[in-house]
Symmetry: C2
Subunit: 196 residues, 2 copies
Amino acid sequence: MKKKTKYHHGNLADALLRAGVKEARVNGPKNLGVTHLANQVHVSPMAVYRHFPNGESLKAGISQQAREELARYMLKALGQETDVKKRFLTIGRSYIEFGLSEPGLFSVAFLDCDSLPNDEDDPSSRSIFHDAILDLSNEGLIEHSDIEQVAAFAWSLVHGYVTLTSAESLSPAMPKPEAVNELLERGWLAITKFRK
Amino acid sequence: MKKKTKYHHGNLADALLRAGVKEARVNGPKNLGVTHLANQVHVSPMAVYRHFPNGESLKAGISQQAREELARYMLKALGQETDVKKRFLTIGRSYIEFGLSEPGLFSVAFLDCDSLPNDEDDPSSRSIFHDAILDLSNEGLIEHSDIEQVAAFAWSLVHGYVTLTSAESLSPAMPKPEAVNELLERGWLAITKFRK
DNA sequence: TTTTCATGTTGACATTATAAACATTAATCG
DNA sequence: CGATTAATGTTTATAATGTCAACATGAAAA
């Protein structure tokens, strides 16, 4: 028999985040309320407030988890690839793959959480983009002074694509994988061939 | 003295949408609830249900208003310009301008309203993009078969830029206008110079 | 004018976020 | 080891919300 009535849960904060991520995977931002998540974890709603100052910050925590999951997915896709172009395209492709295969998580990841801690999440998708672009610069494929602009361009492109495709606002003219490849190659062109 | 106690409001649906847009402009998606908007219009919450089946659909209506405002802004910026490249860049620039100058409206415009009526809003930003890209095709600047891809590329780029910049996820390396110009020129390059 | 329909209102109820007070377990210190 | 204290959960209570049902009123149609 299992131990029951463990009055203390032991690890509530984690459990809540976990439950939240699970919900987010299925239902996106809905059902991320204090009460609902507390129920999932078999704990009274007020227990949540011992670990999060309010419901918003719990949501923010879940959002952060989702962002970290995205970053892990990207790193995994990167693997040991060494070719800079392939690395760069893989970053974009994996970002899009994650967004399209986990729309709920993705939308929660970029939820209007007022405080995206834009500093070091580690590993954050931002820093992954940035590092890859540093490599491009070191290889002489882009100007050093273009780093920030290229980061903005690349990230905007894939982020927008996921957002609009998930919302079914964009109707693709061809099957997904080819469409994504072409999008990425176009982006590569704009990044490596642009000169003021 | 003004006429008061006009038991019937006369134009509640419009007034609610208007109040919603005003709120959205200031606070984004928050405060778009049935009760709050009903109060703004000095009407009991239940009155709302004579015009919208539920709170979600009221939000959806406000979201649509926001999308139409965006489209109007773009058309105005377009003006009578005839040069195809300038037209195209203006579309992108005005989209970004609107998004950055009206972050609340923009976020509501693309709120997770499950049912973005992806058909004819008239005038929708989608159709504006599309028409401009048709012109590019007619001028021979892009392949006819590339129309859908170019639309996806262009819209993704500017939409992503607004989203990430509003969320302060992107830290620009230069003042906004120049950054936006460079982004657009890069996009133009990718659109007109790409061949499979 | 009288009937009817569209439009508002009040009251009730379930659900939510959160505050206050209380309970229990775990940790620390003599 | 036992007693005090700090963490962590629970119950109770309050205010706000979305929405249902029943009722009221004013404008349009008959």
